[in-house]
C-alpha cells in the first residue's frame, strides 16, 4: 500500500511539473493564477498521501490549513489584481 501511495505522490508531482508550463506560458494573469491554485489542490493531495505513508497526523493539519488558506490568495487575486484588468478590457 505504501508503494501505491508513493507512486501516486510521484504522479501528482509530475502533474505539478506539467502545470508549470501554464504558469510560464500564461498568456493571461488569470491562467497563471489558476495554475498556481491547482498546484495548491495537488499539494493538499500530496500532503494527505505523505501523511498516510509516514503515519503522521500532523500532516493532515498542514493539508487542512493549506486548503483553507489557498482560497484567500485566490480572493486576493480576483479582488485586487484581476478586477482592474477586466475594467481595462471593458473600456477598450
Amino acid at each position: 500500500m505504501e508503494t501505491f501511495y508513493l507512486v501516486l505522490v510521484l504522479f501528482l508531482l509530475l502533474n505539478l511539473a506539467a502545470g508549470m508550463w501554464r504558469v510560464l506560458l500564461g498568456p493571461t494573469a488569470a491562467d497563471r493564477m489558476m495554475a498556481a491554485q491547482l498546484f495548491g489542490t495537488t499539494a493538499v493531495a500530496v500532503l494527505l498521501l505523505l501523511g498516510q505513508v509516514e503515519g503522521r497526523s500532523a500532516l493532515h493539519d498542514v493539508a487542512f490549513v493549506f486548503a483553507l488558506l489557498s482560497a484567500v490568495t485566490a480572493v486576493a487575486f480576483v479582488r485586487r489584481a484581476w478586477s482592474e484588468q477586466e475594467k481595462k478590457h471593458d473600456s477598450k
Binding site: L10, A43, L69, S70, A81
Partner: protein, 325 residues
C-alpha cells in the same frame, strides 16, 4: 523494498530540482506577476520539502505564512504598483527608457549585491565545515528538559521557553514593519467598496472556520505542530478575507482598541520578561510549575497581535485614517 527507496529518491529528487528551478525562474523573471506566481509555487514545493525532511512544524509555518498571507500581500502590492504606474501616466516610451537605463546599471548592482551574498555563503560554508561530524545537536538537551518547559511539543518548548527571546524579537520585527508602513501614509484603495454576493458568501462561510482553526492551532501547539505564529497567520487570513470582502473596522474600534490589540503580544512578552528578571534574575526563565500557564498567556496574546498586525499590513494604510478621506 528496493522499489520503495527508488520511489522515495525520485520524489525527493523531483522536489529538489523543482525548488532550484522555481527559485531560478522566480529570480530572473522580468515580469513581476509571473515571478509572484512562481514564488507561490515555490512556497508550495518548499512545504512538501519540509514534510519530506520530517519537519511538519516548519511545513505548517510555511503553509500558514507562505500560502495564506505572502501570496495575498504580494498580489496586493503588485496591484498597487501597477496602479501607481498607471496614475503617473508613464508612457511606453518612457518605460522603455527607464528599462534600458536599468539594464545599463545592472552589472554594477549585480556585483554590489552579489559580493555580500558570496561572502556570507563562503562564511556559512566555512562554518558548516568546522562543525564536528559527530555532534548530536541540541535535541537531546531539549528532550531532557522537556518536562520543565510546561509543554510536550519540543518545538513549542524551544520557541516559547528555552529561546523565548527569539519569538519576542520576531513579534517586535512584525510590529516594526507595520509602523514602517503606517509612516509611509499610503492612500487607501477604494476599489473594494463594490459588493460581490459570491465573495460575501465565501467570507461568511470561511471566517468562522478560520477562527476555529486558529484557536485549534493555538491549543494544539502545546503538544503537537501548531503555535502562535501559525494560529496568528490563520486568524490574520480571516482578517484579510474580511478586508477583501469589503468589511471595515468600525471607526470606534479603529483607534485605540486596534492599537492595543497590535501591541498586546509584545507588551505582554516584555512584561513577563521583566517580571521574570525581577523574580528569578534571568530574562524569560519561567518557573517550571507555572511555565504552562505563562506560555499559554504569551501565545494567546501573541496570536491576537500577530493576526492584527498581518491584517493591518495587508490593509496598508491606517484604518482610522482611511475612513476620513
Amino acid at each position: 523494498m528496493e522499489a520503495l527507496s527508488l520511489l522515495q529518491w525520485l520524489i525527493d529528487g523531483l522536489i529538489g530540482i523543482g525548488l532550484l528551478w522555481l527559485a531560478w525562474r522566480a529570480l530572473f523573471c522580468p515580469e513581476l506577476f509571473k515571478a509572484i506566481v512562481l514564488f507561490i509555487a515555490f512556497g508550495l514545493l518548499m512545504t512538501l520539502a519540509w514534510v519530506r525532511l520530517k519537519a511538519p512544524d516548519v511545513a505548517l509555518a510555511e503553509v500558514a505564512i507562505g500560502a495564506g498571507l505572502t501570496g495575498a500581500l504580494l498580489l496586493s502590492s503588485w496591484a498597487k504598483l501597477r496602479d501607481f504606474d498607471a496614475n503617473k501616466g508613464m508612457g511606453v516610451r518612457e518605460k522603455n527608457r527607464v528599462q534600458s537605463e536599468q539594464k545599463t546599471k545592472r552589472p554594477f548592482f549585480h556585483w554590489l549585491s552579489a559580493t555580500p551574498v558570496l561572502l556570507m555563503a563562503v562564511g556559512l560554508g566555512y562554518g558548516v565545515l568546522q562543525l564536528s561530524p559527530y555532534a548530536t545537536g541540541l535535541s537531546t538537551a531539549v528532550a531532557e528538559n522537556l518536562d520543565a518547559s510546561g509543554v510536550s511539543n519540543p518545538v513549542t518548548a524551544v520557541l516559547l521557553n528555552f529561546r523565548a527571546y527569539d519569538t519576542l524579537l520576531e513579534i517586535a520585527v512584525l510590529l516594526l514593519a507595520l509602523i514602517g508602513i503606517w509612516s509611509l501614509e499610503i492612500r487607501p484603495s477604494v476599489r473594494e467598496a463594490t459588493l460581490d454576493p459570491v465573495l460575501d458568501l465565501l467570507a461568511r462561510l470561511l471566517t468562522p472556520l478560520l477562527l476555529l482553526v486558529s484557536a485549534y492551532l493555538l491549543w494544539v501547539g502545546a503538544h503537537a505542530s501548531g503555535g502562535a505564529f501559525q494560529a496568528g497567520s490563520v486568524l490574520g487570513a480571516a482578517g484579510v478575507l474580511l478586508i477583501l470582502a469589503g468589511w471595515r473596522l468600525p471607526l470606534s474600534l479603529a483607534g485605540l482598541p486596534l492599537r492595543i490589540t497590535l501591541v498586546v503580544g509584545l507588551s505582554t512578552f516584555i512584561a513577563v520578561a521583566v517580571l521574570m528578571m525581577l523574580d528569578r534574575g534571568q530574562l524569560l526563565a519561567f518557573p517550571p510549575s507555572q511555565a504552562s500557564l505563562i506560555i499559554f498567556v504569551l501565545e494567546t496574546t501573541a496570536t491576537l497581535s500577530i493576526a492584527a498586525i498581518l491584517a493591518a499590513l495587508f490593509l496598508g494604510s491606517r484604518p482610522d485614517h482611511s475612513e476620513k478621506i
